[in-house]
């Protein structure tokens, strides 16, 4: 059976050589060996290992700092929204006649850890908005949107718009006074827009005015349409990030020591 090649692990993580006298040929019976056999079996059929190597053992340039973690932090916040959102969806009812409000009340008051999960979803949204703007700021100030990463940026802008749209559609769902009136005002602002405005507001309301289907429309958009689009776009975004490589900090020059800013400066 073919074996996948060993990954280029750093020294500290490489398996130690066996000590003399240790039994080298312990056979495939040890758990570790059995695990490797399963992986080999899967790889023989899927040929996924080159893809995983391409993703995980690509190099990131010298001088990467904490600001580069903001993109993956945004991704993490998105995943948090997805997971907590699934749990909320198990109890939520998009019923404008009162069921929606009561179901959220029930989540808050009766469901085990309900208010906690609801709170994580609510505050996670704010955290995600902050992180996405910080990530965008990092990309902007590092000039990371320039050649060849223009498309990564364009997809990112769409992601910002979708994230804000998530905030807007989600705000209505608890269907309390704040939710209702903010959404009515929000949709009416859309209605005032040139050209597409009236159509957009008609689409969001599901008619000329707020009615029984408005809430379920918002719910469908909030939990199916936008998250689906976002997941696909994040996939494309990350593919491009991996394919093109992460930018080096703009002040670094090849060959210069990254601890010595002055040197890099003097070379220019």
């Amino acid at each position: 059976m073919p074996r996948i090649p060993a990954p280029p692990l750093p020294k500290a993580l490489q398996p130690r050589p066996k000590r003399p006298g240790q039994d080298v040929e312990a056979g495939a019976a040890t758990p570790v060996e059995a695990g490797i056999t399963v992986v080999d079996w899967l790889d023989e059929r899927t040929a996924l290992s080159p893809g995983i190597r391409w993703l995980m053992w690509r190099k990131v340039p010298r001088g990467i700092n904490w600001a580069y973690t903001l993109g993956s932090a945004t991704l993490f916040a998105f995943l948090n929204q997805a997971v907590t959102g699934v749990f909320l969806a198990m109890y939520y009812r998009p019923d404008a006649a009162g069921g929606a409000y009561e179901s959220i009340r029930n989540i808050n008051d009766n469901v085990f850890l309900g208010q906690f999960v609801h709170g994580m979803h609510k505050w996670g949204a704010s955290v995600m908005i902050i992180l996405i703007f910080l990530h965008m700021g990092r990309v902007f100030f590092y000039g990371a949107y320039k050649y060849p990463r223009e498309l990564t940026w364009v997809i990112g802008v769409v992601l910002v718009i979708l994230t804000l749209a998530m905030g807007f559609t989600g705000y209505l769902l608890p269907f309390d006074q704040r939710a209702y009136w903010a959404s009515v005002v929000g949709i009416n602002i859309n209605a005032g827009g040139p050209f597409v405005g009236p159509f957009l507001s008609n689409f969001l309301f599901g008619g000329a005015d707020f009615n029984a289907t408005t809430l379920s429309r918002f719910y469908a958009i909030h939990m199916l349409v936008i998250p689906g689009a976002m997941a696909a776009l994040i996939g494309a975004h990350l593919y491009l990030v991996t394919k093109l490589g992460i930018t080096a900090p703009p002040w670094l020059k090849p060959g210069a020591d990254d601890t010595d800013h002055a040197l890099a400066e003097a070379e220019v």
Binding site: V60, P61, K146, V160, G167, P174, D176
Partner: protein
Amino acid sequence: MNQAQKEAYLREYSILKNEGKPFFPYAVAKDGAMACIVMVVIIFLSLLFGAELGPKADPTTTTYVPRPDWYFFFLFEVLRVMRNVPKFTPMATIGVPTICMILLFLLPFYDRSPERRIERRPIALAAGITTIAAMAYLTYSGAHTGSPNSVEIKPPATLSAAQLQVWHAGADVVGESGCLACHVIGENGNNGPGPALTNIANTVPAAQIASTLRNPTPPMPSFKDLPADKFNDLVYFLSTLQ
């Protein structure tokens, strides 16, 4: 960027990349640490502030002041400021954000210089800082001023301190009650379907204002159910509009 600059960048980048470390485990470790911080912050916020539910939605109330979540305060503020020039309100609330989005969208296509260091990109630096400052300012003032329903006019100079307090309370009731949806007061609110209230005290005495508020002509809702003090503040405020 021309072809030579593109090639120079790719060459330089491939060297820097080769001098780097593998994504796993080095970058993954940092990303993981950051993910833990994000998780802790979210859990902390949830435990601290929870997810309170306000009163149930009631489409028939006229007294609710709408407020969006904080990240839309900037839009809210644009709406509030632009309301003073009604002709341009749609332009401002939809137009300005749309133009900003398009500018953001096309950034890599009009900023074509090969320079990446921010201290050598004066226009980008200025634009970036201006944008951040503008958003921060709009968000801040959006958080600290009332809704698009609030009344902003100067009180008459002749009022005593006590009268001034009642006057302000009355102005708040006007804002909360949604009067501005149908009436204009100075530069606030919509001109119609109700009559302008800017100088209402010149033509209608206070007693008659009060009786109109109790028994209005439809479609105006009656305000007879307001608490007495609010009702009196409201009548007092309206009776100073001359």
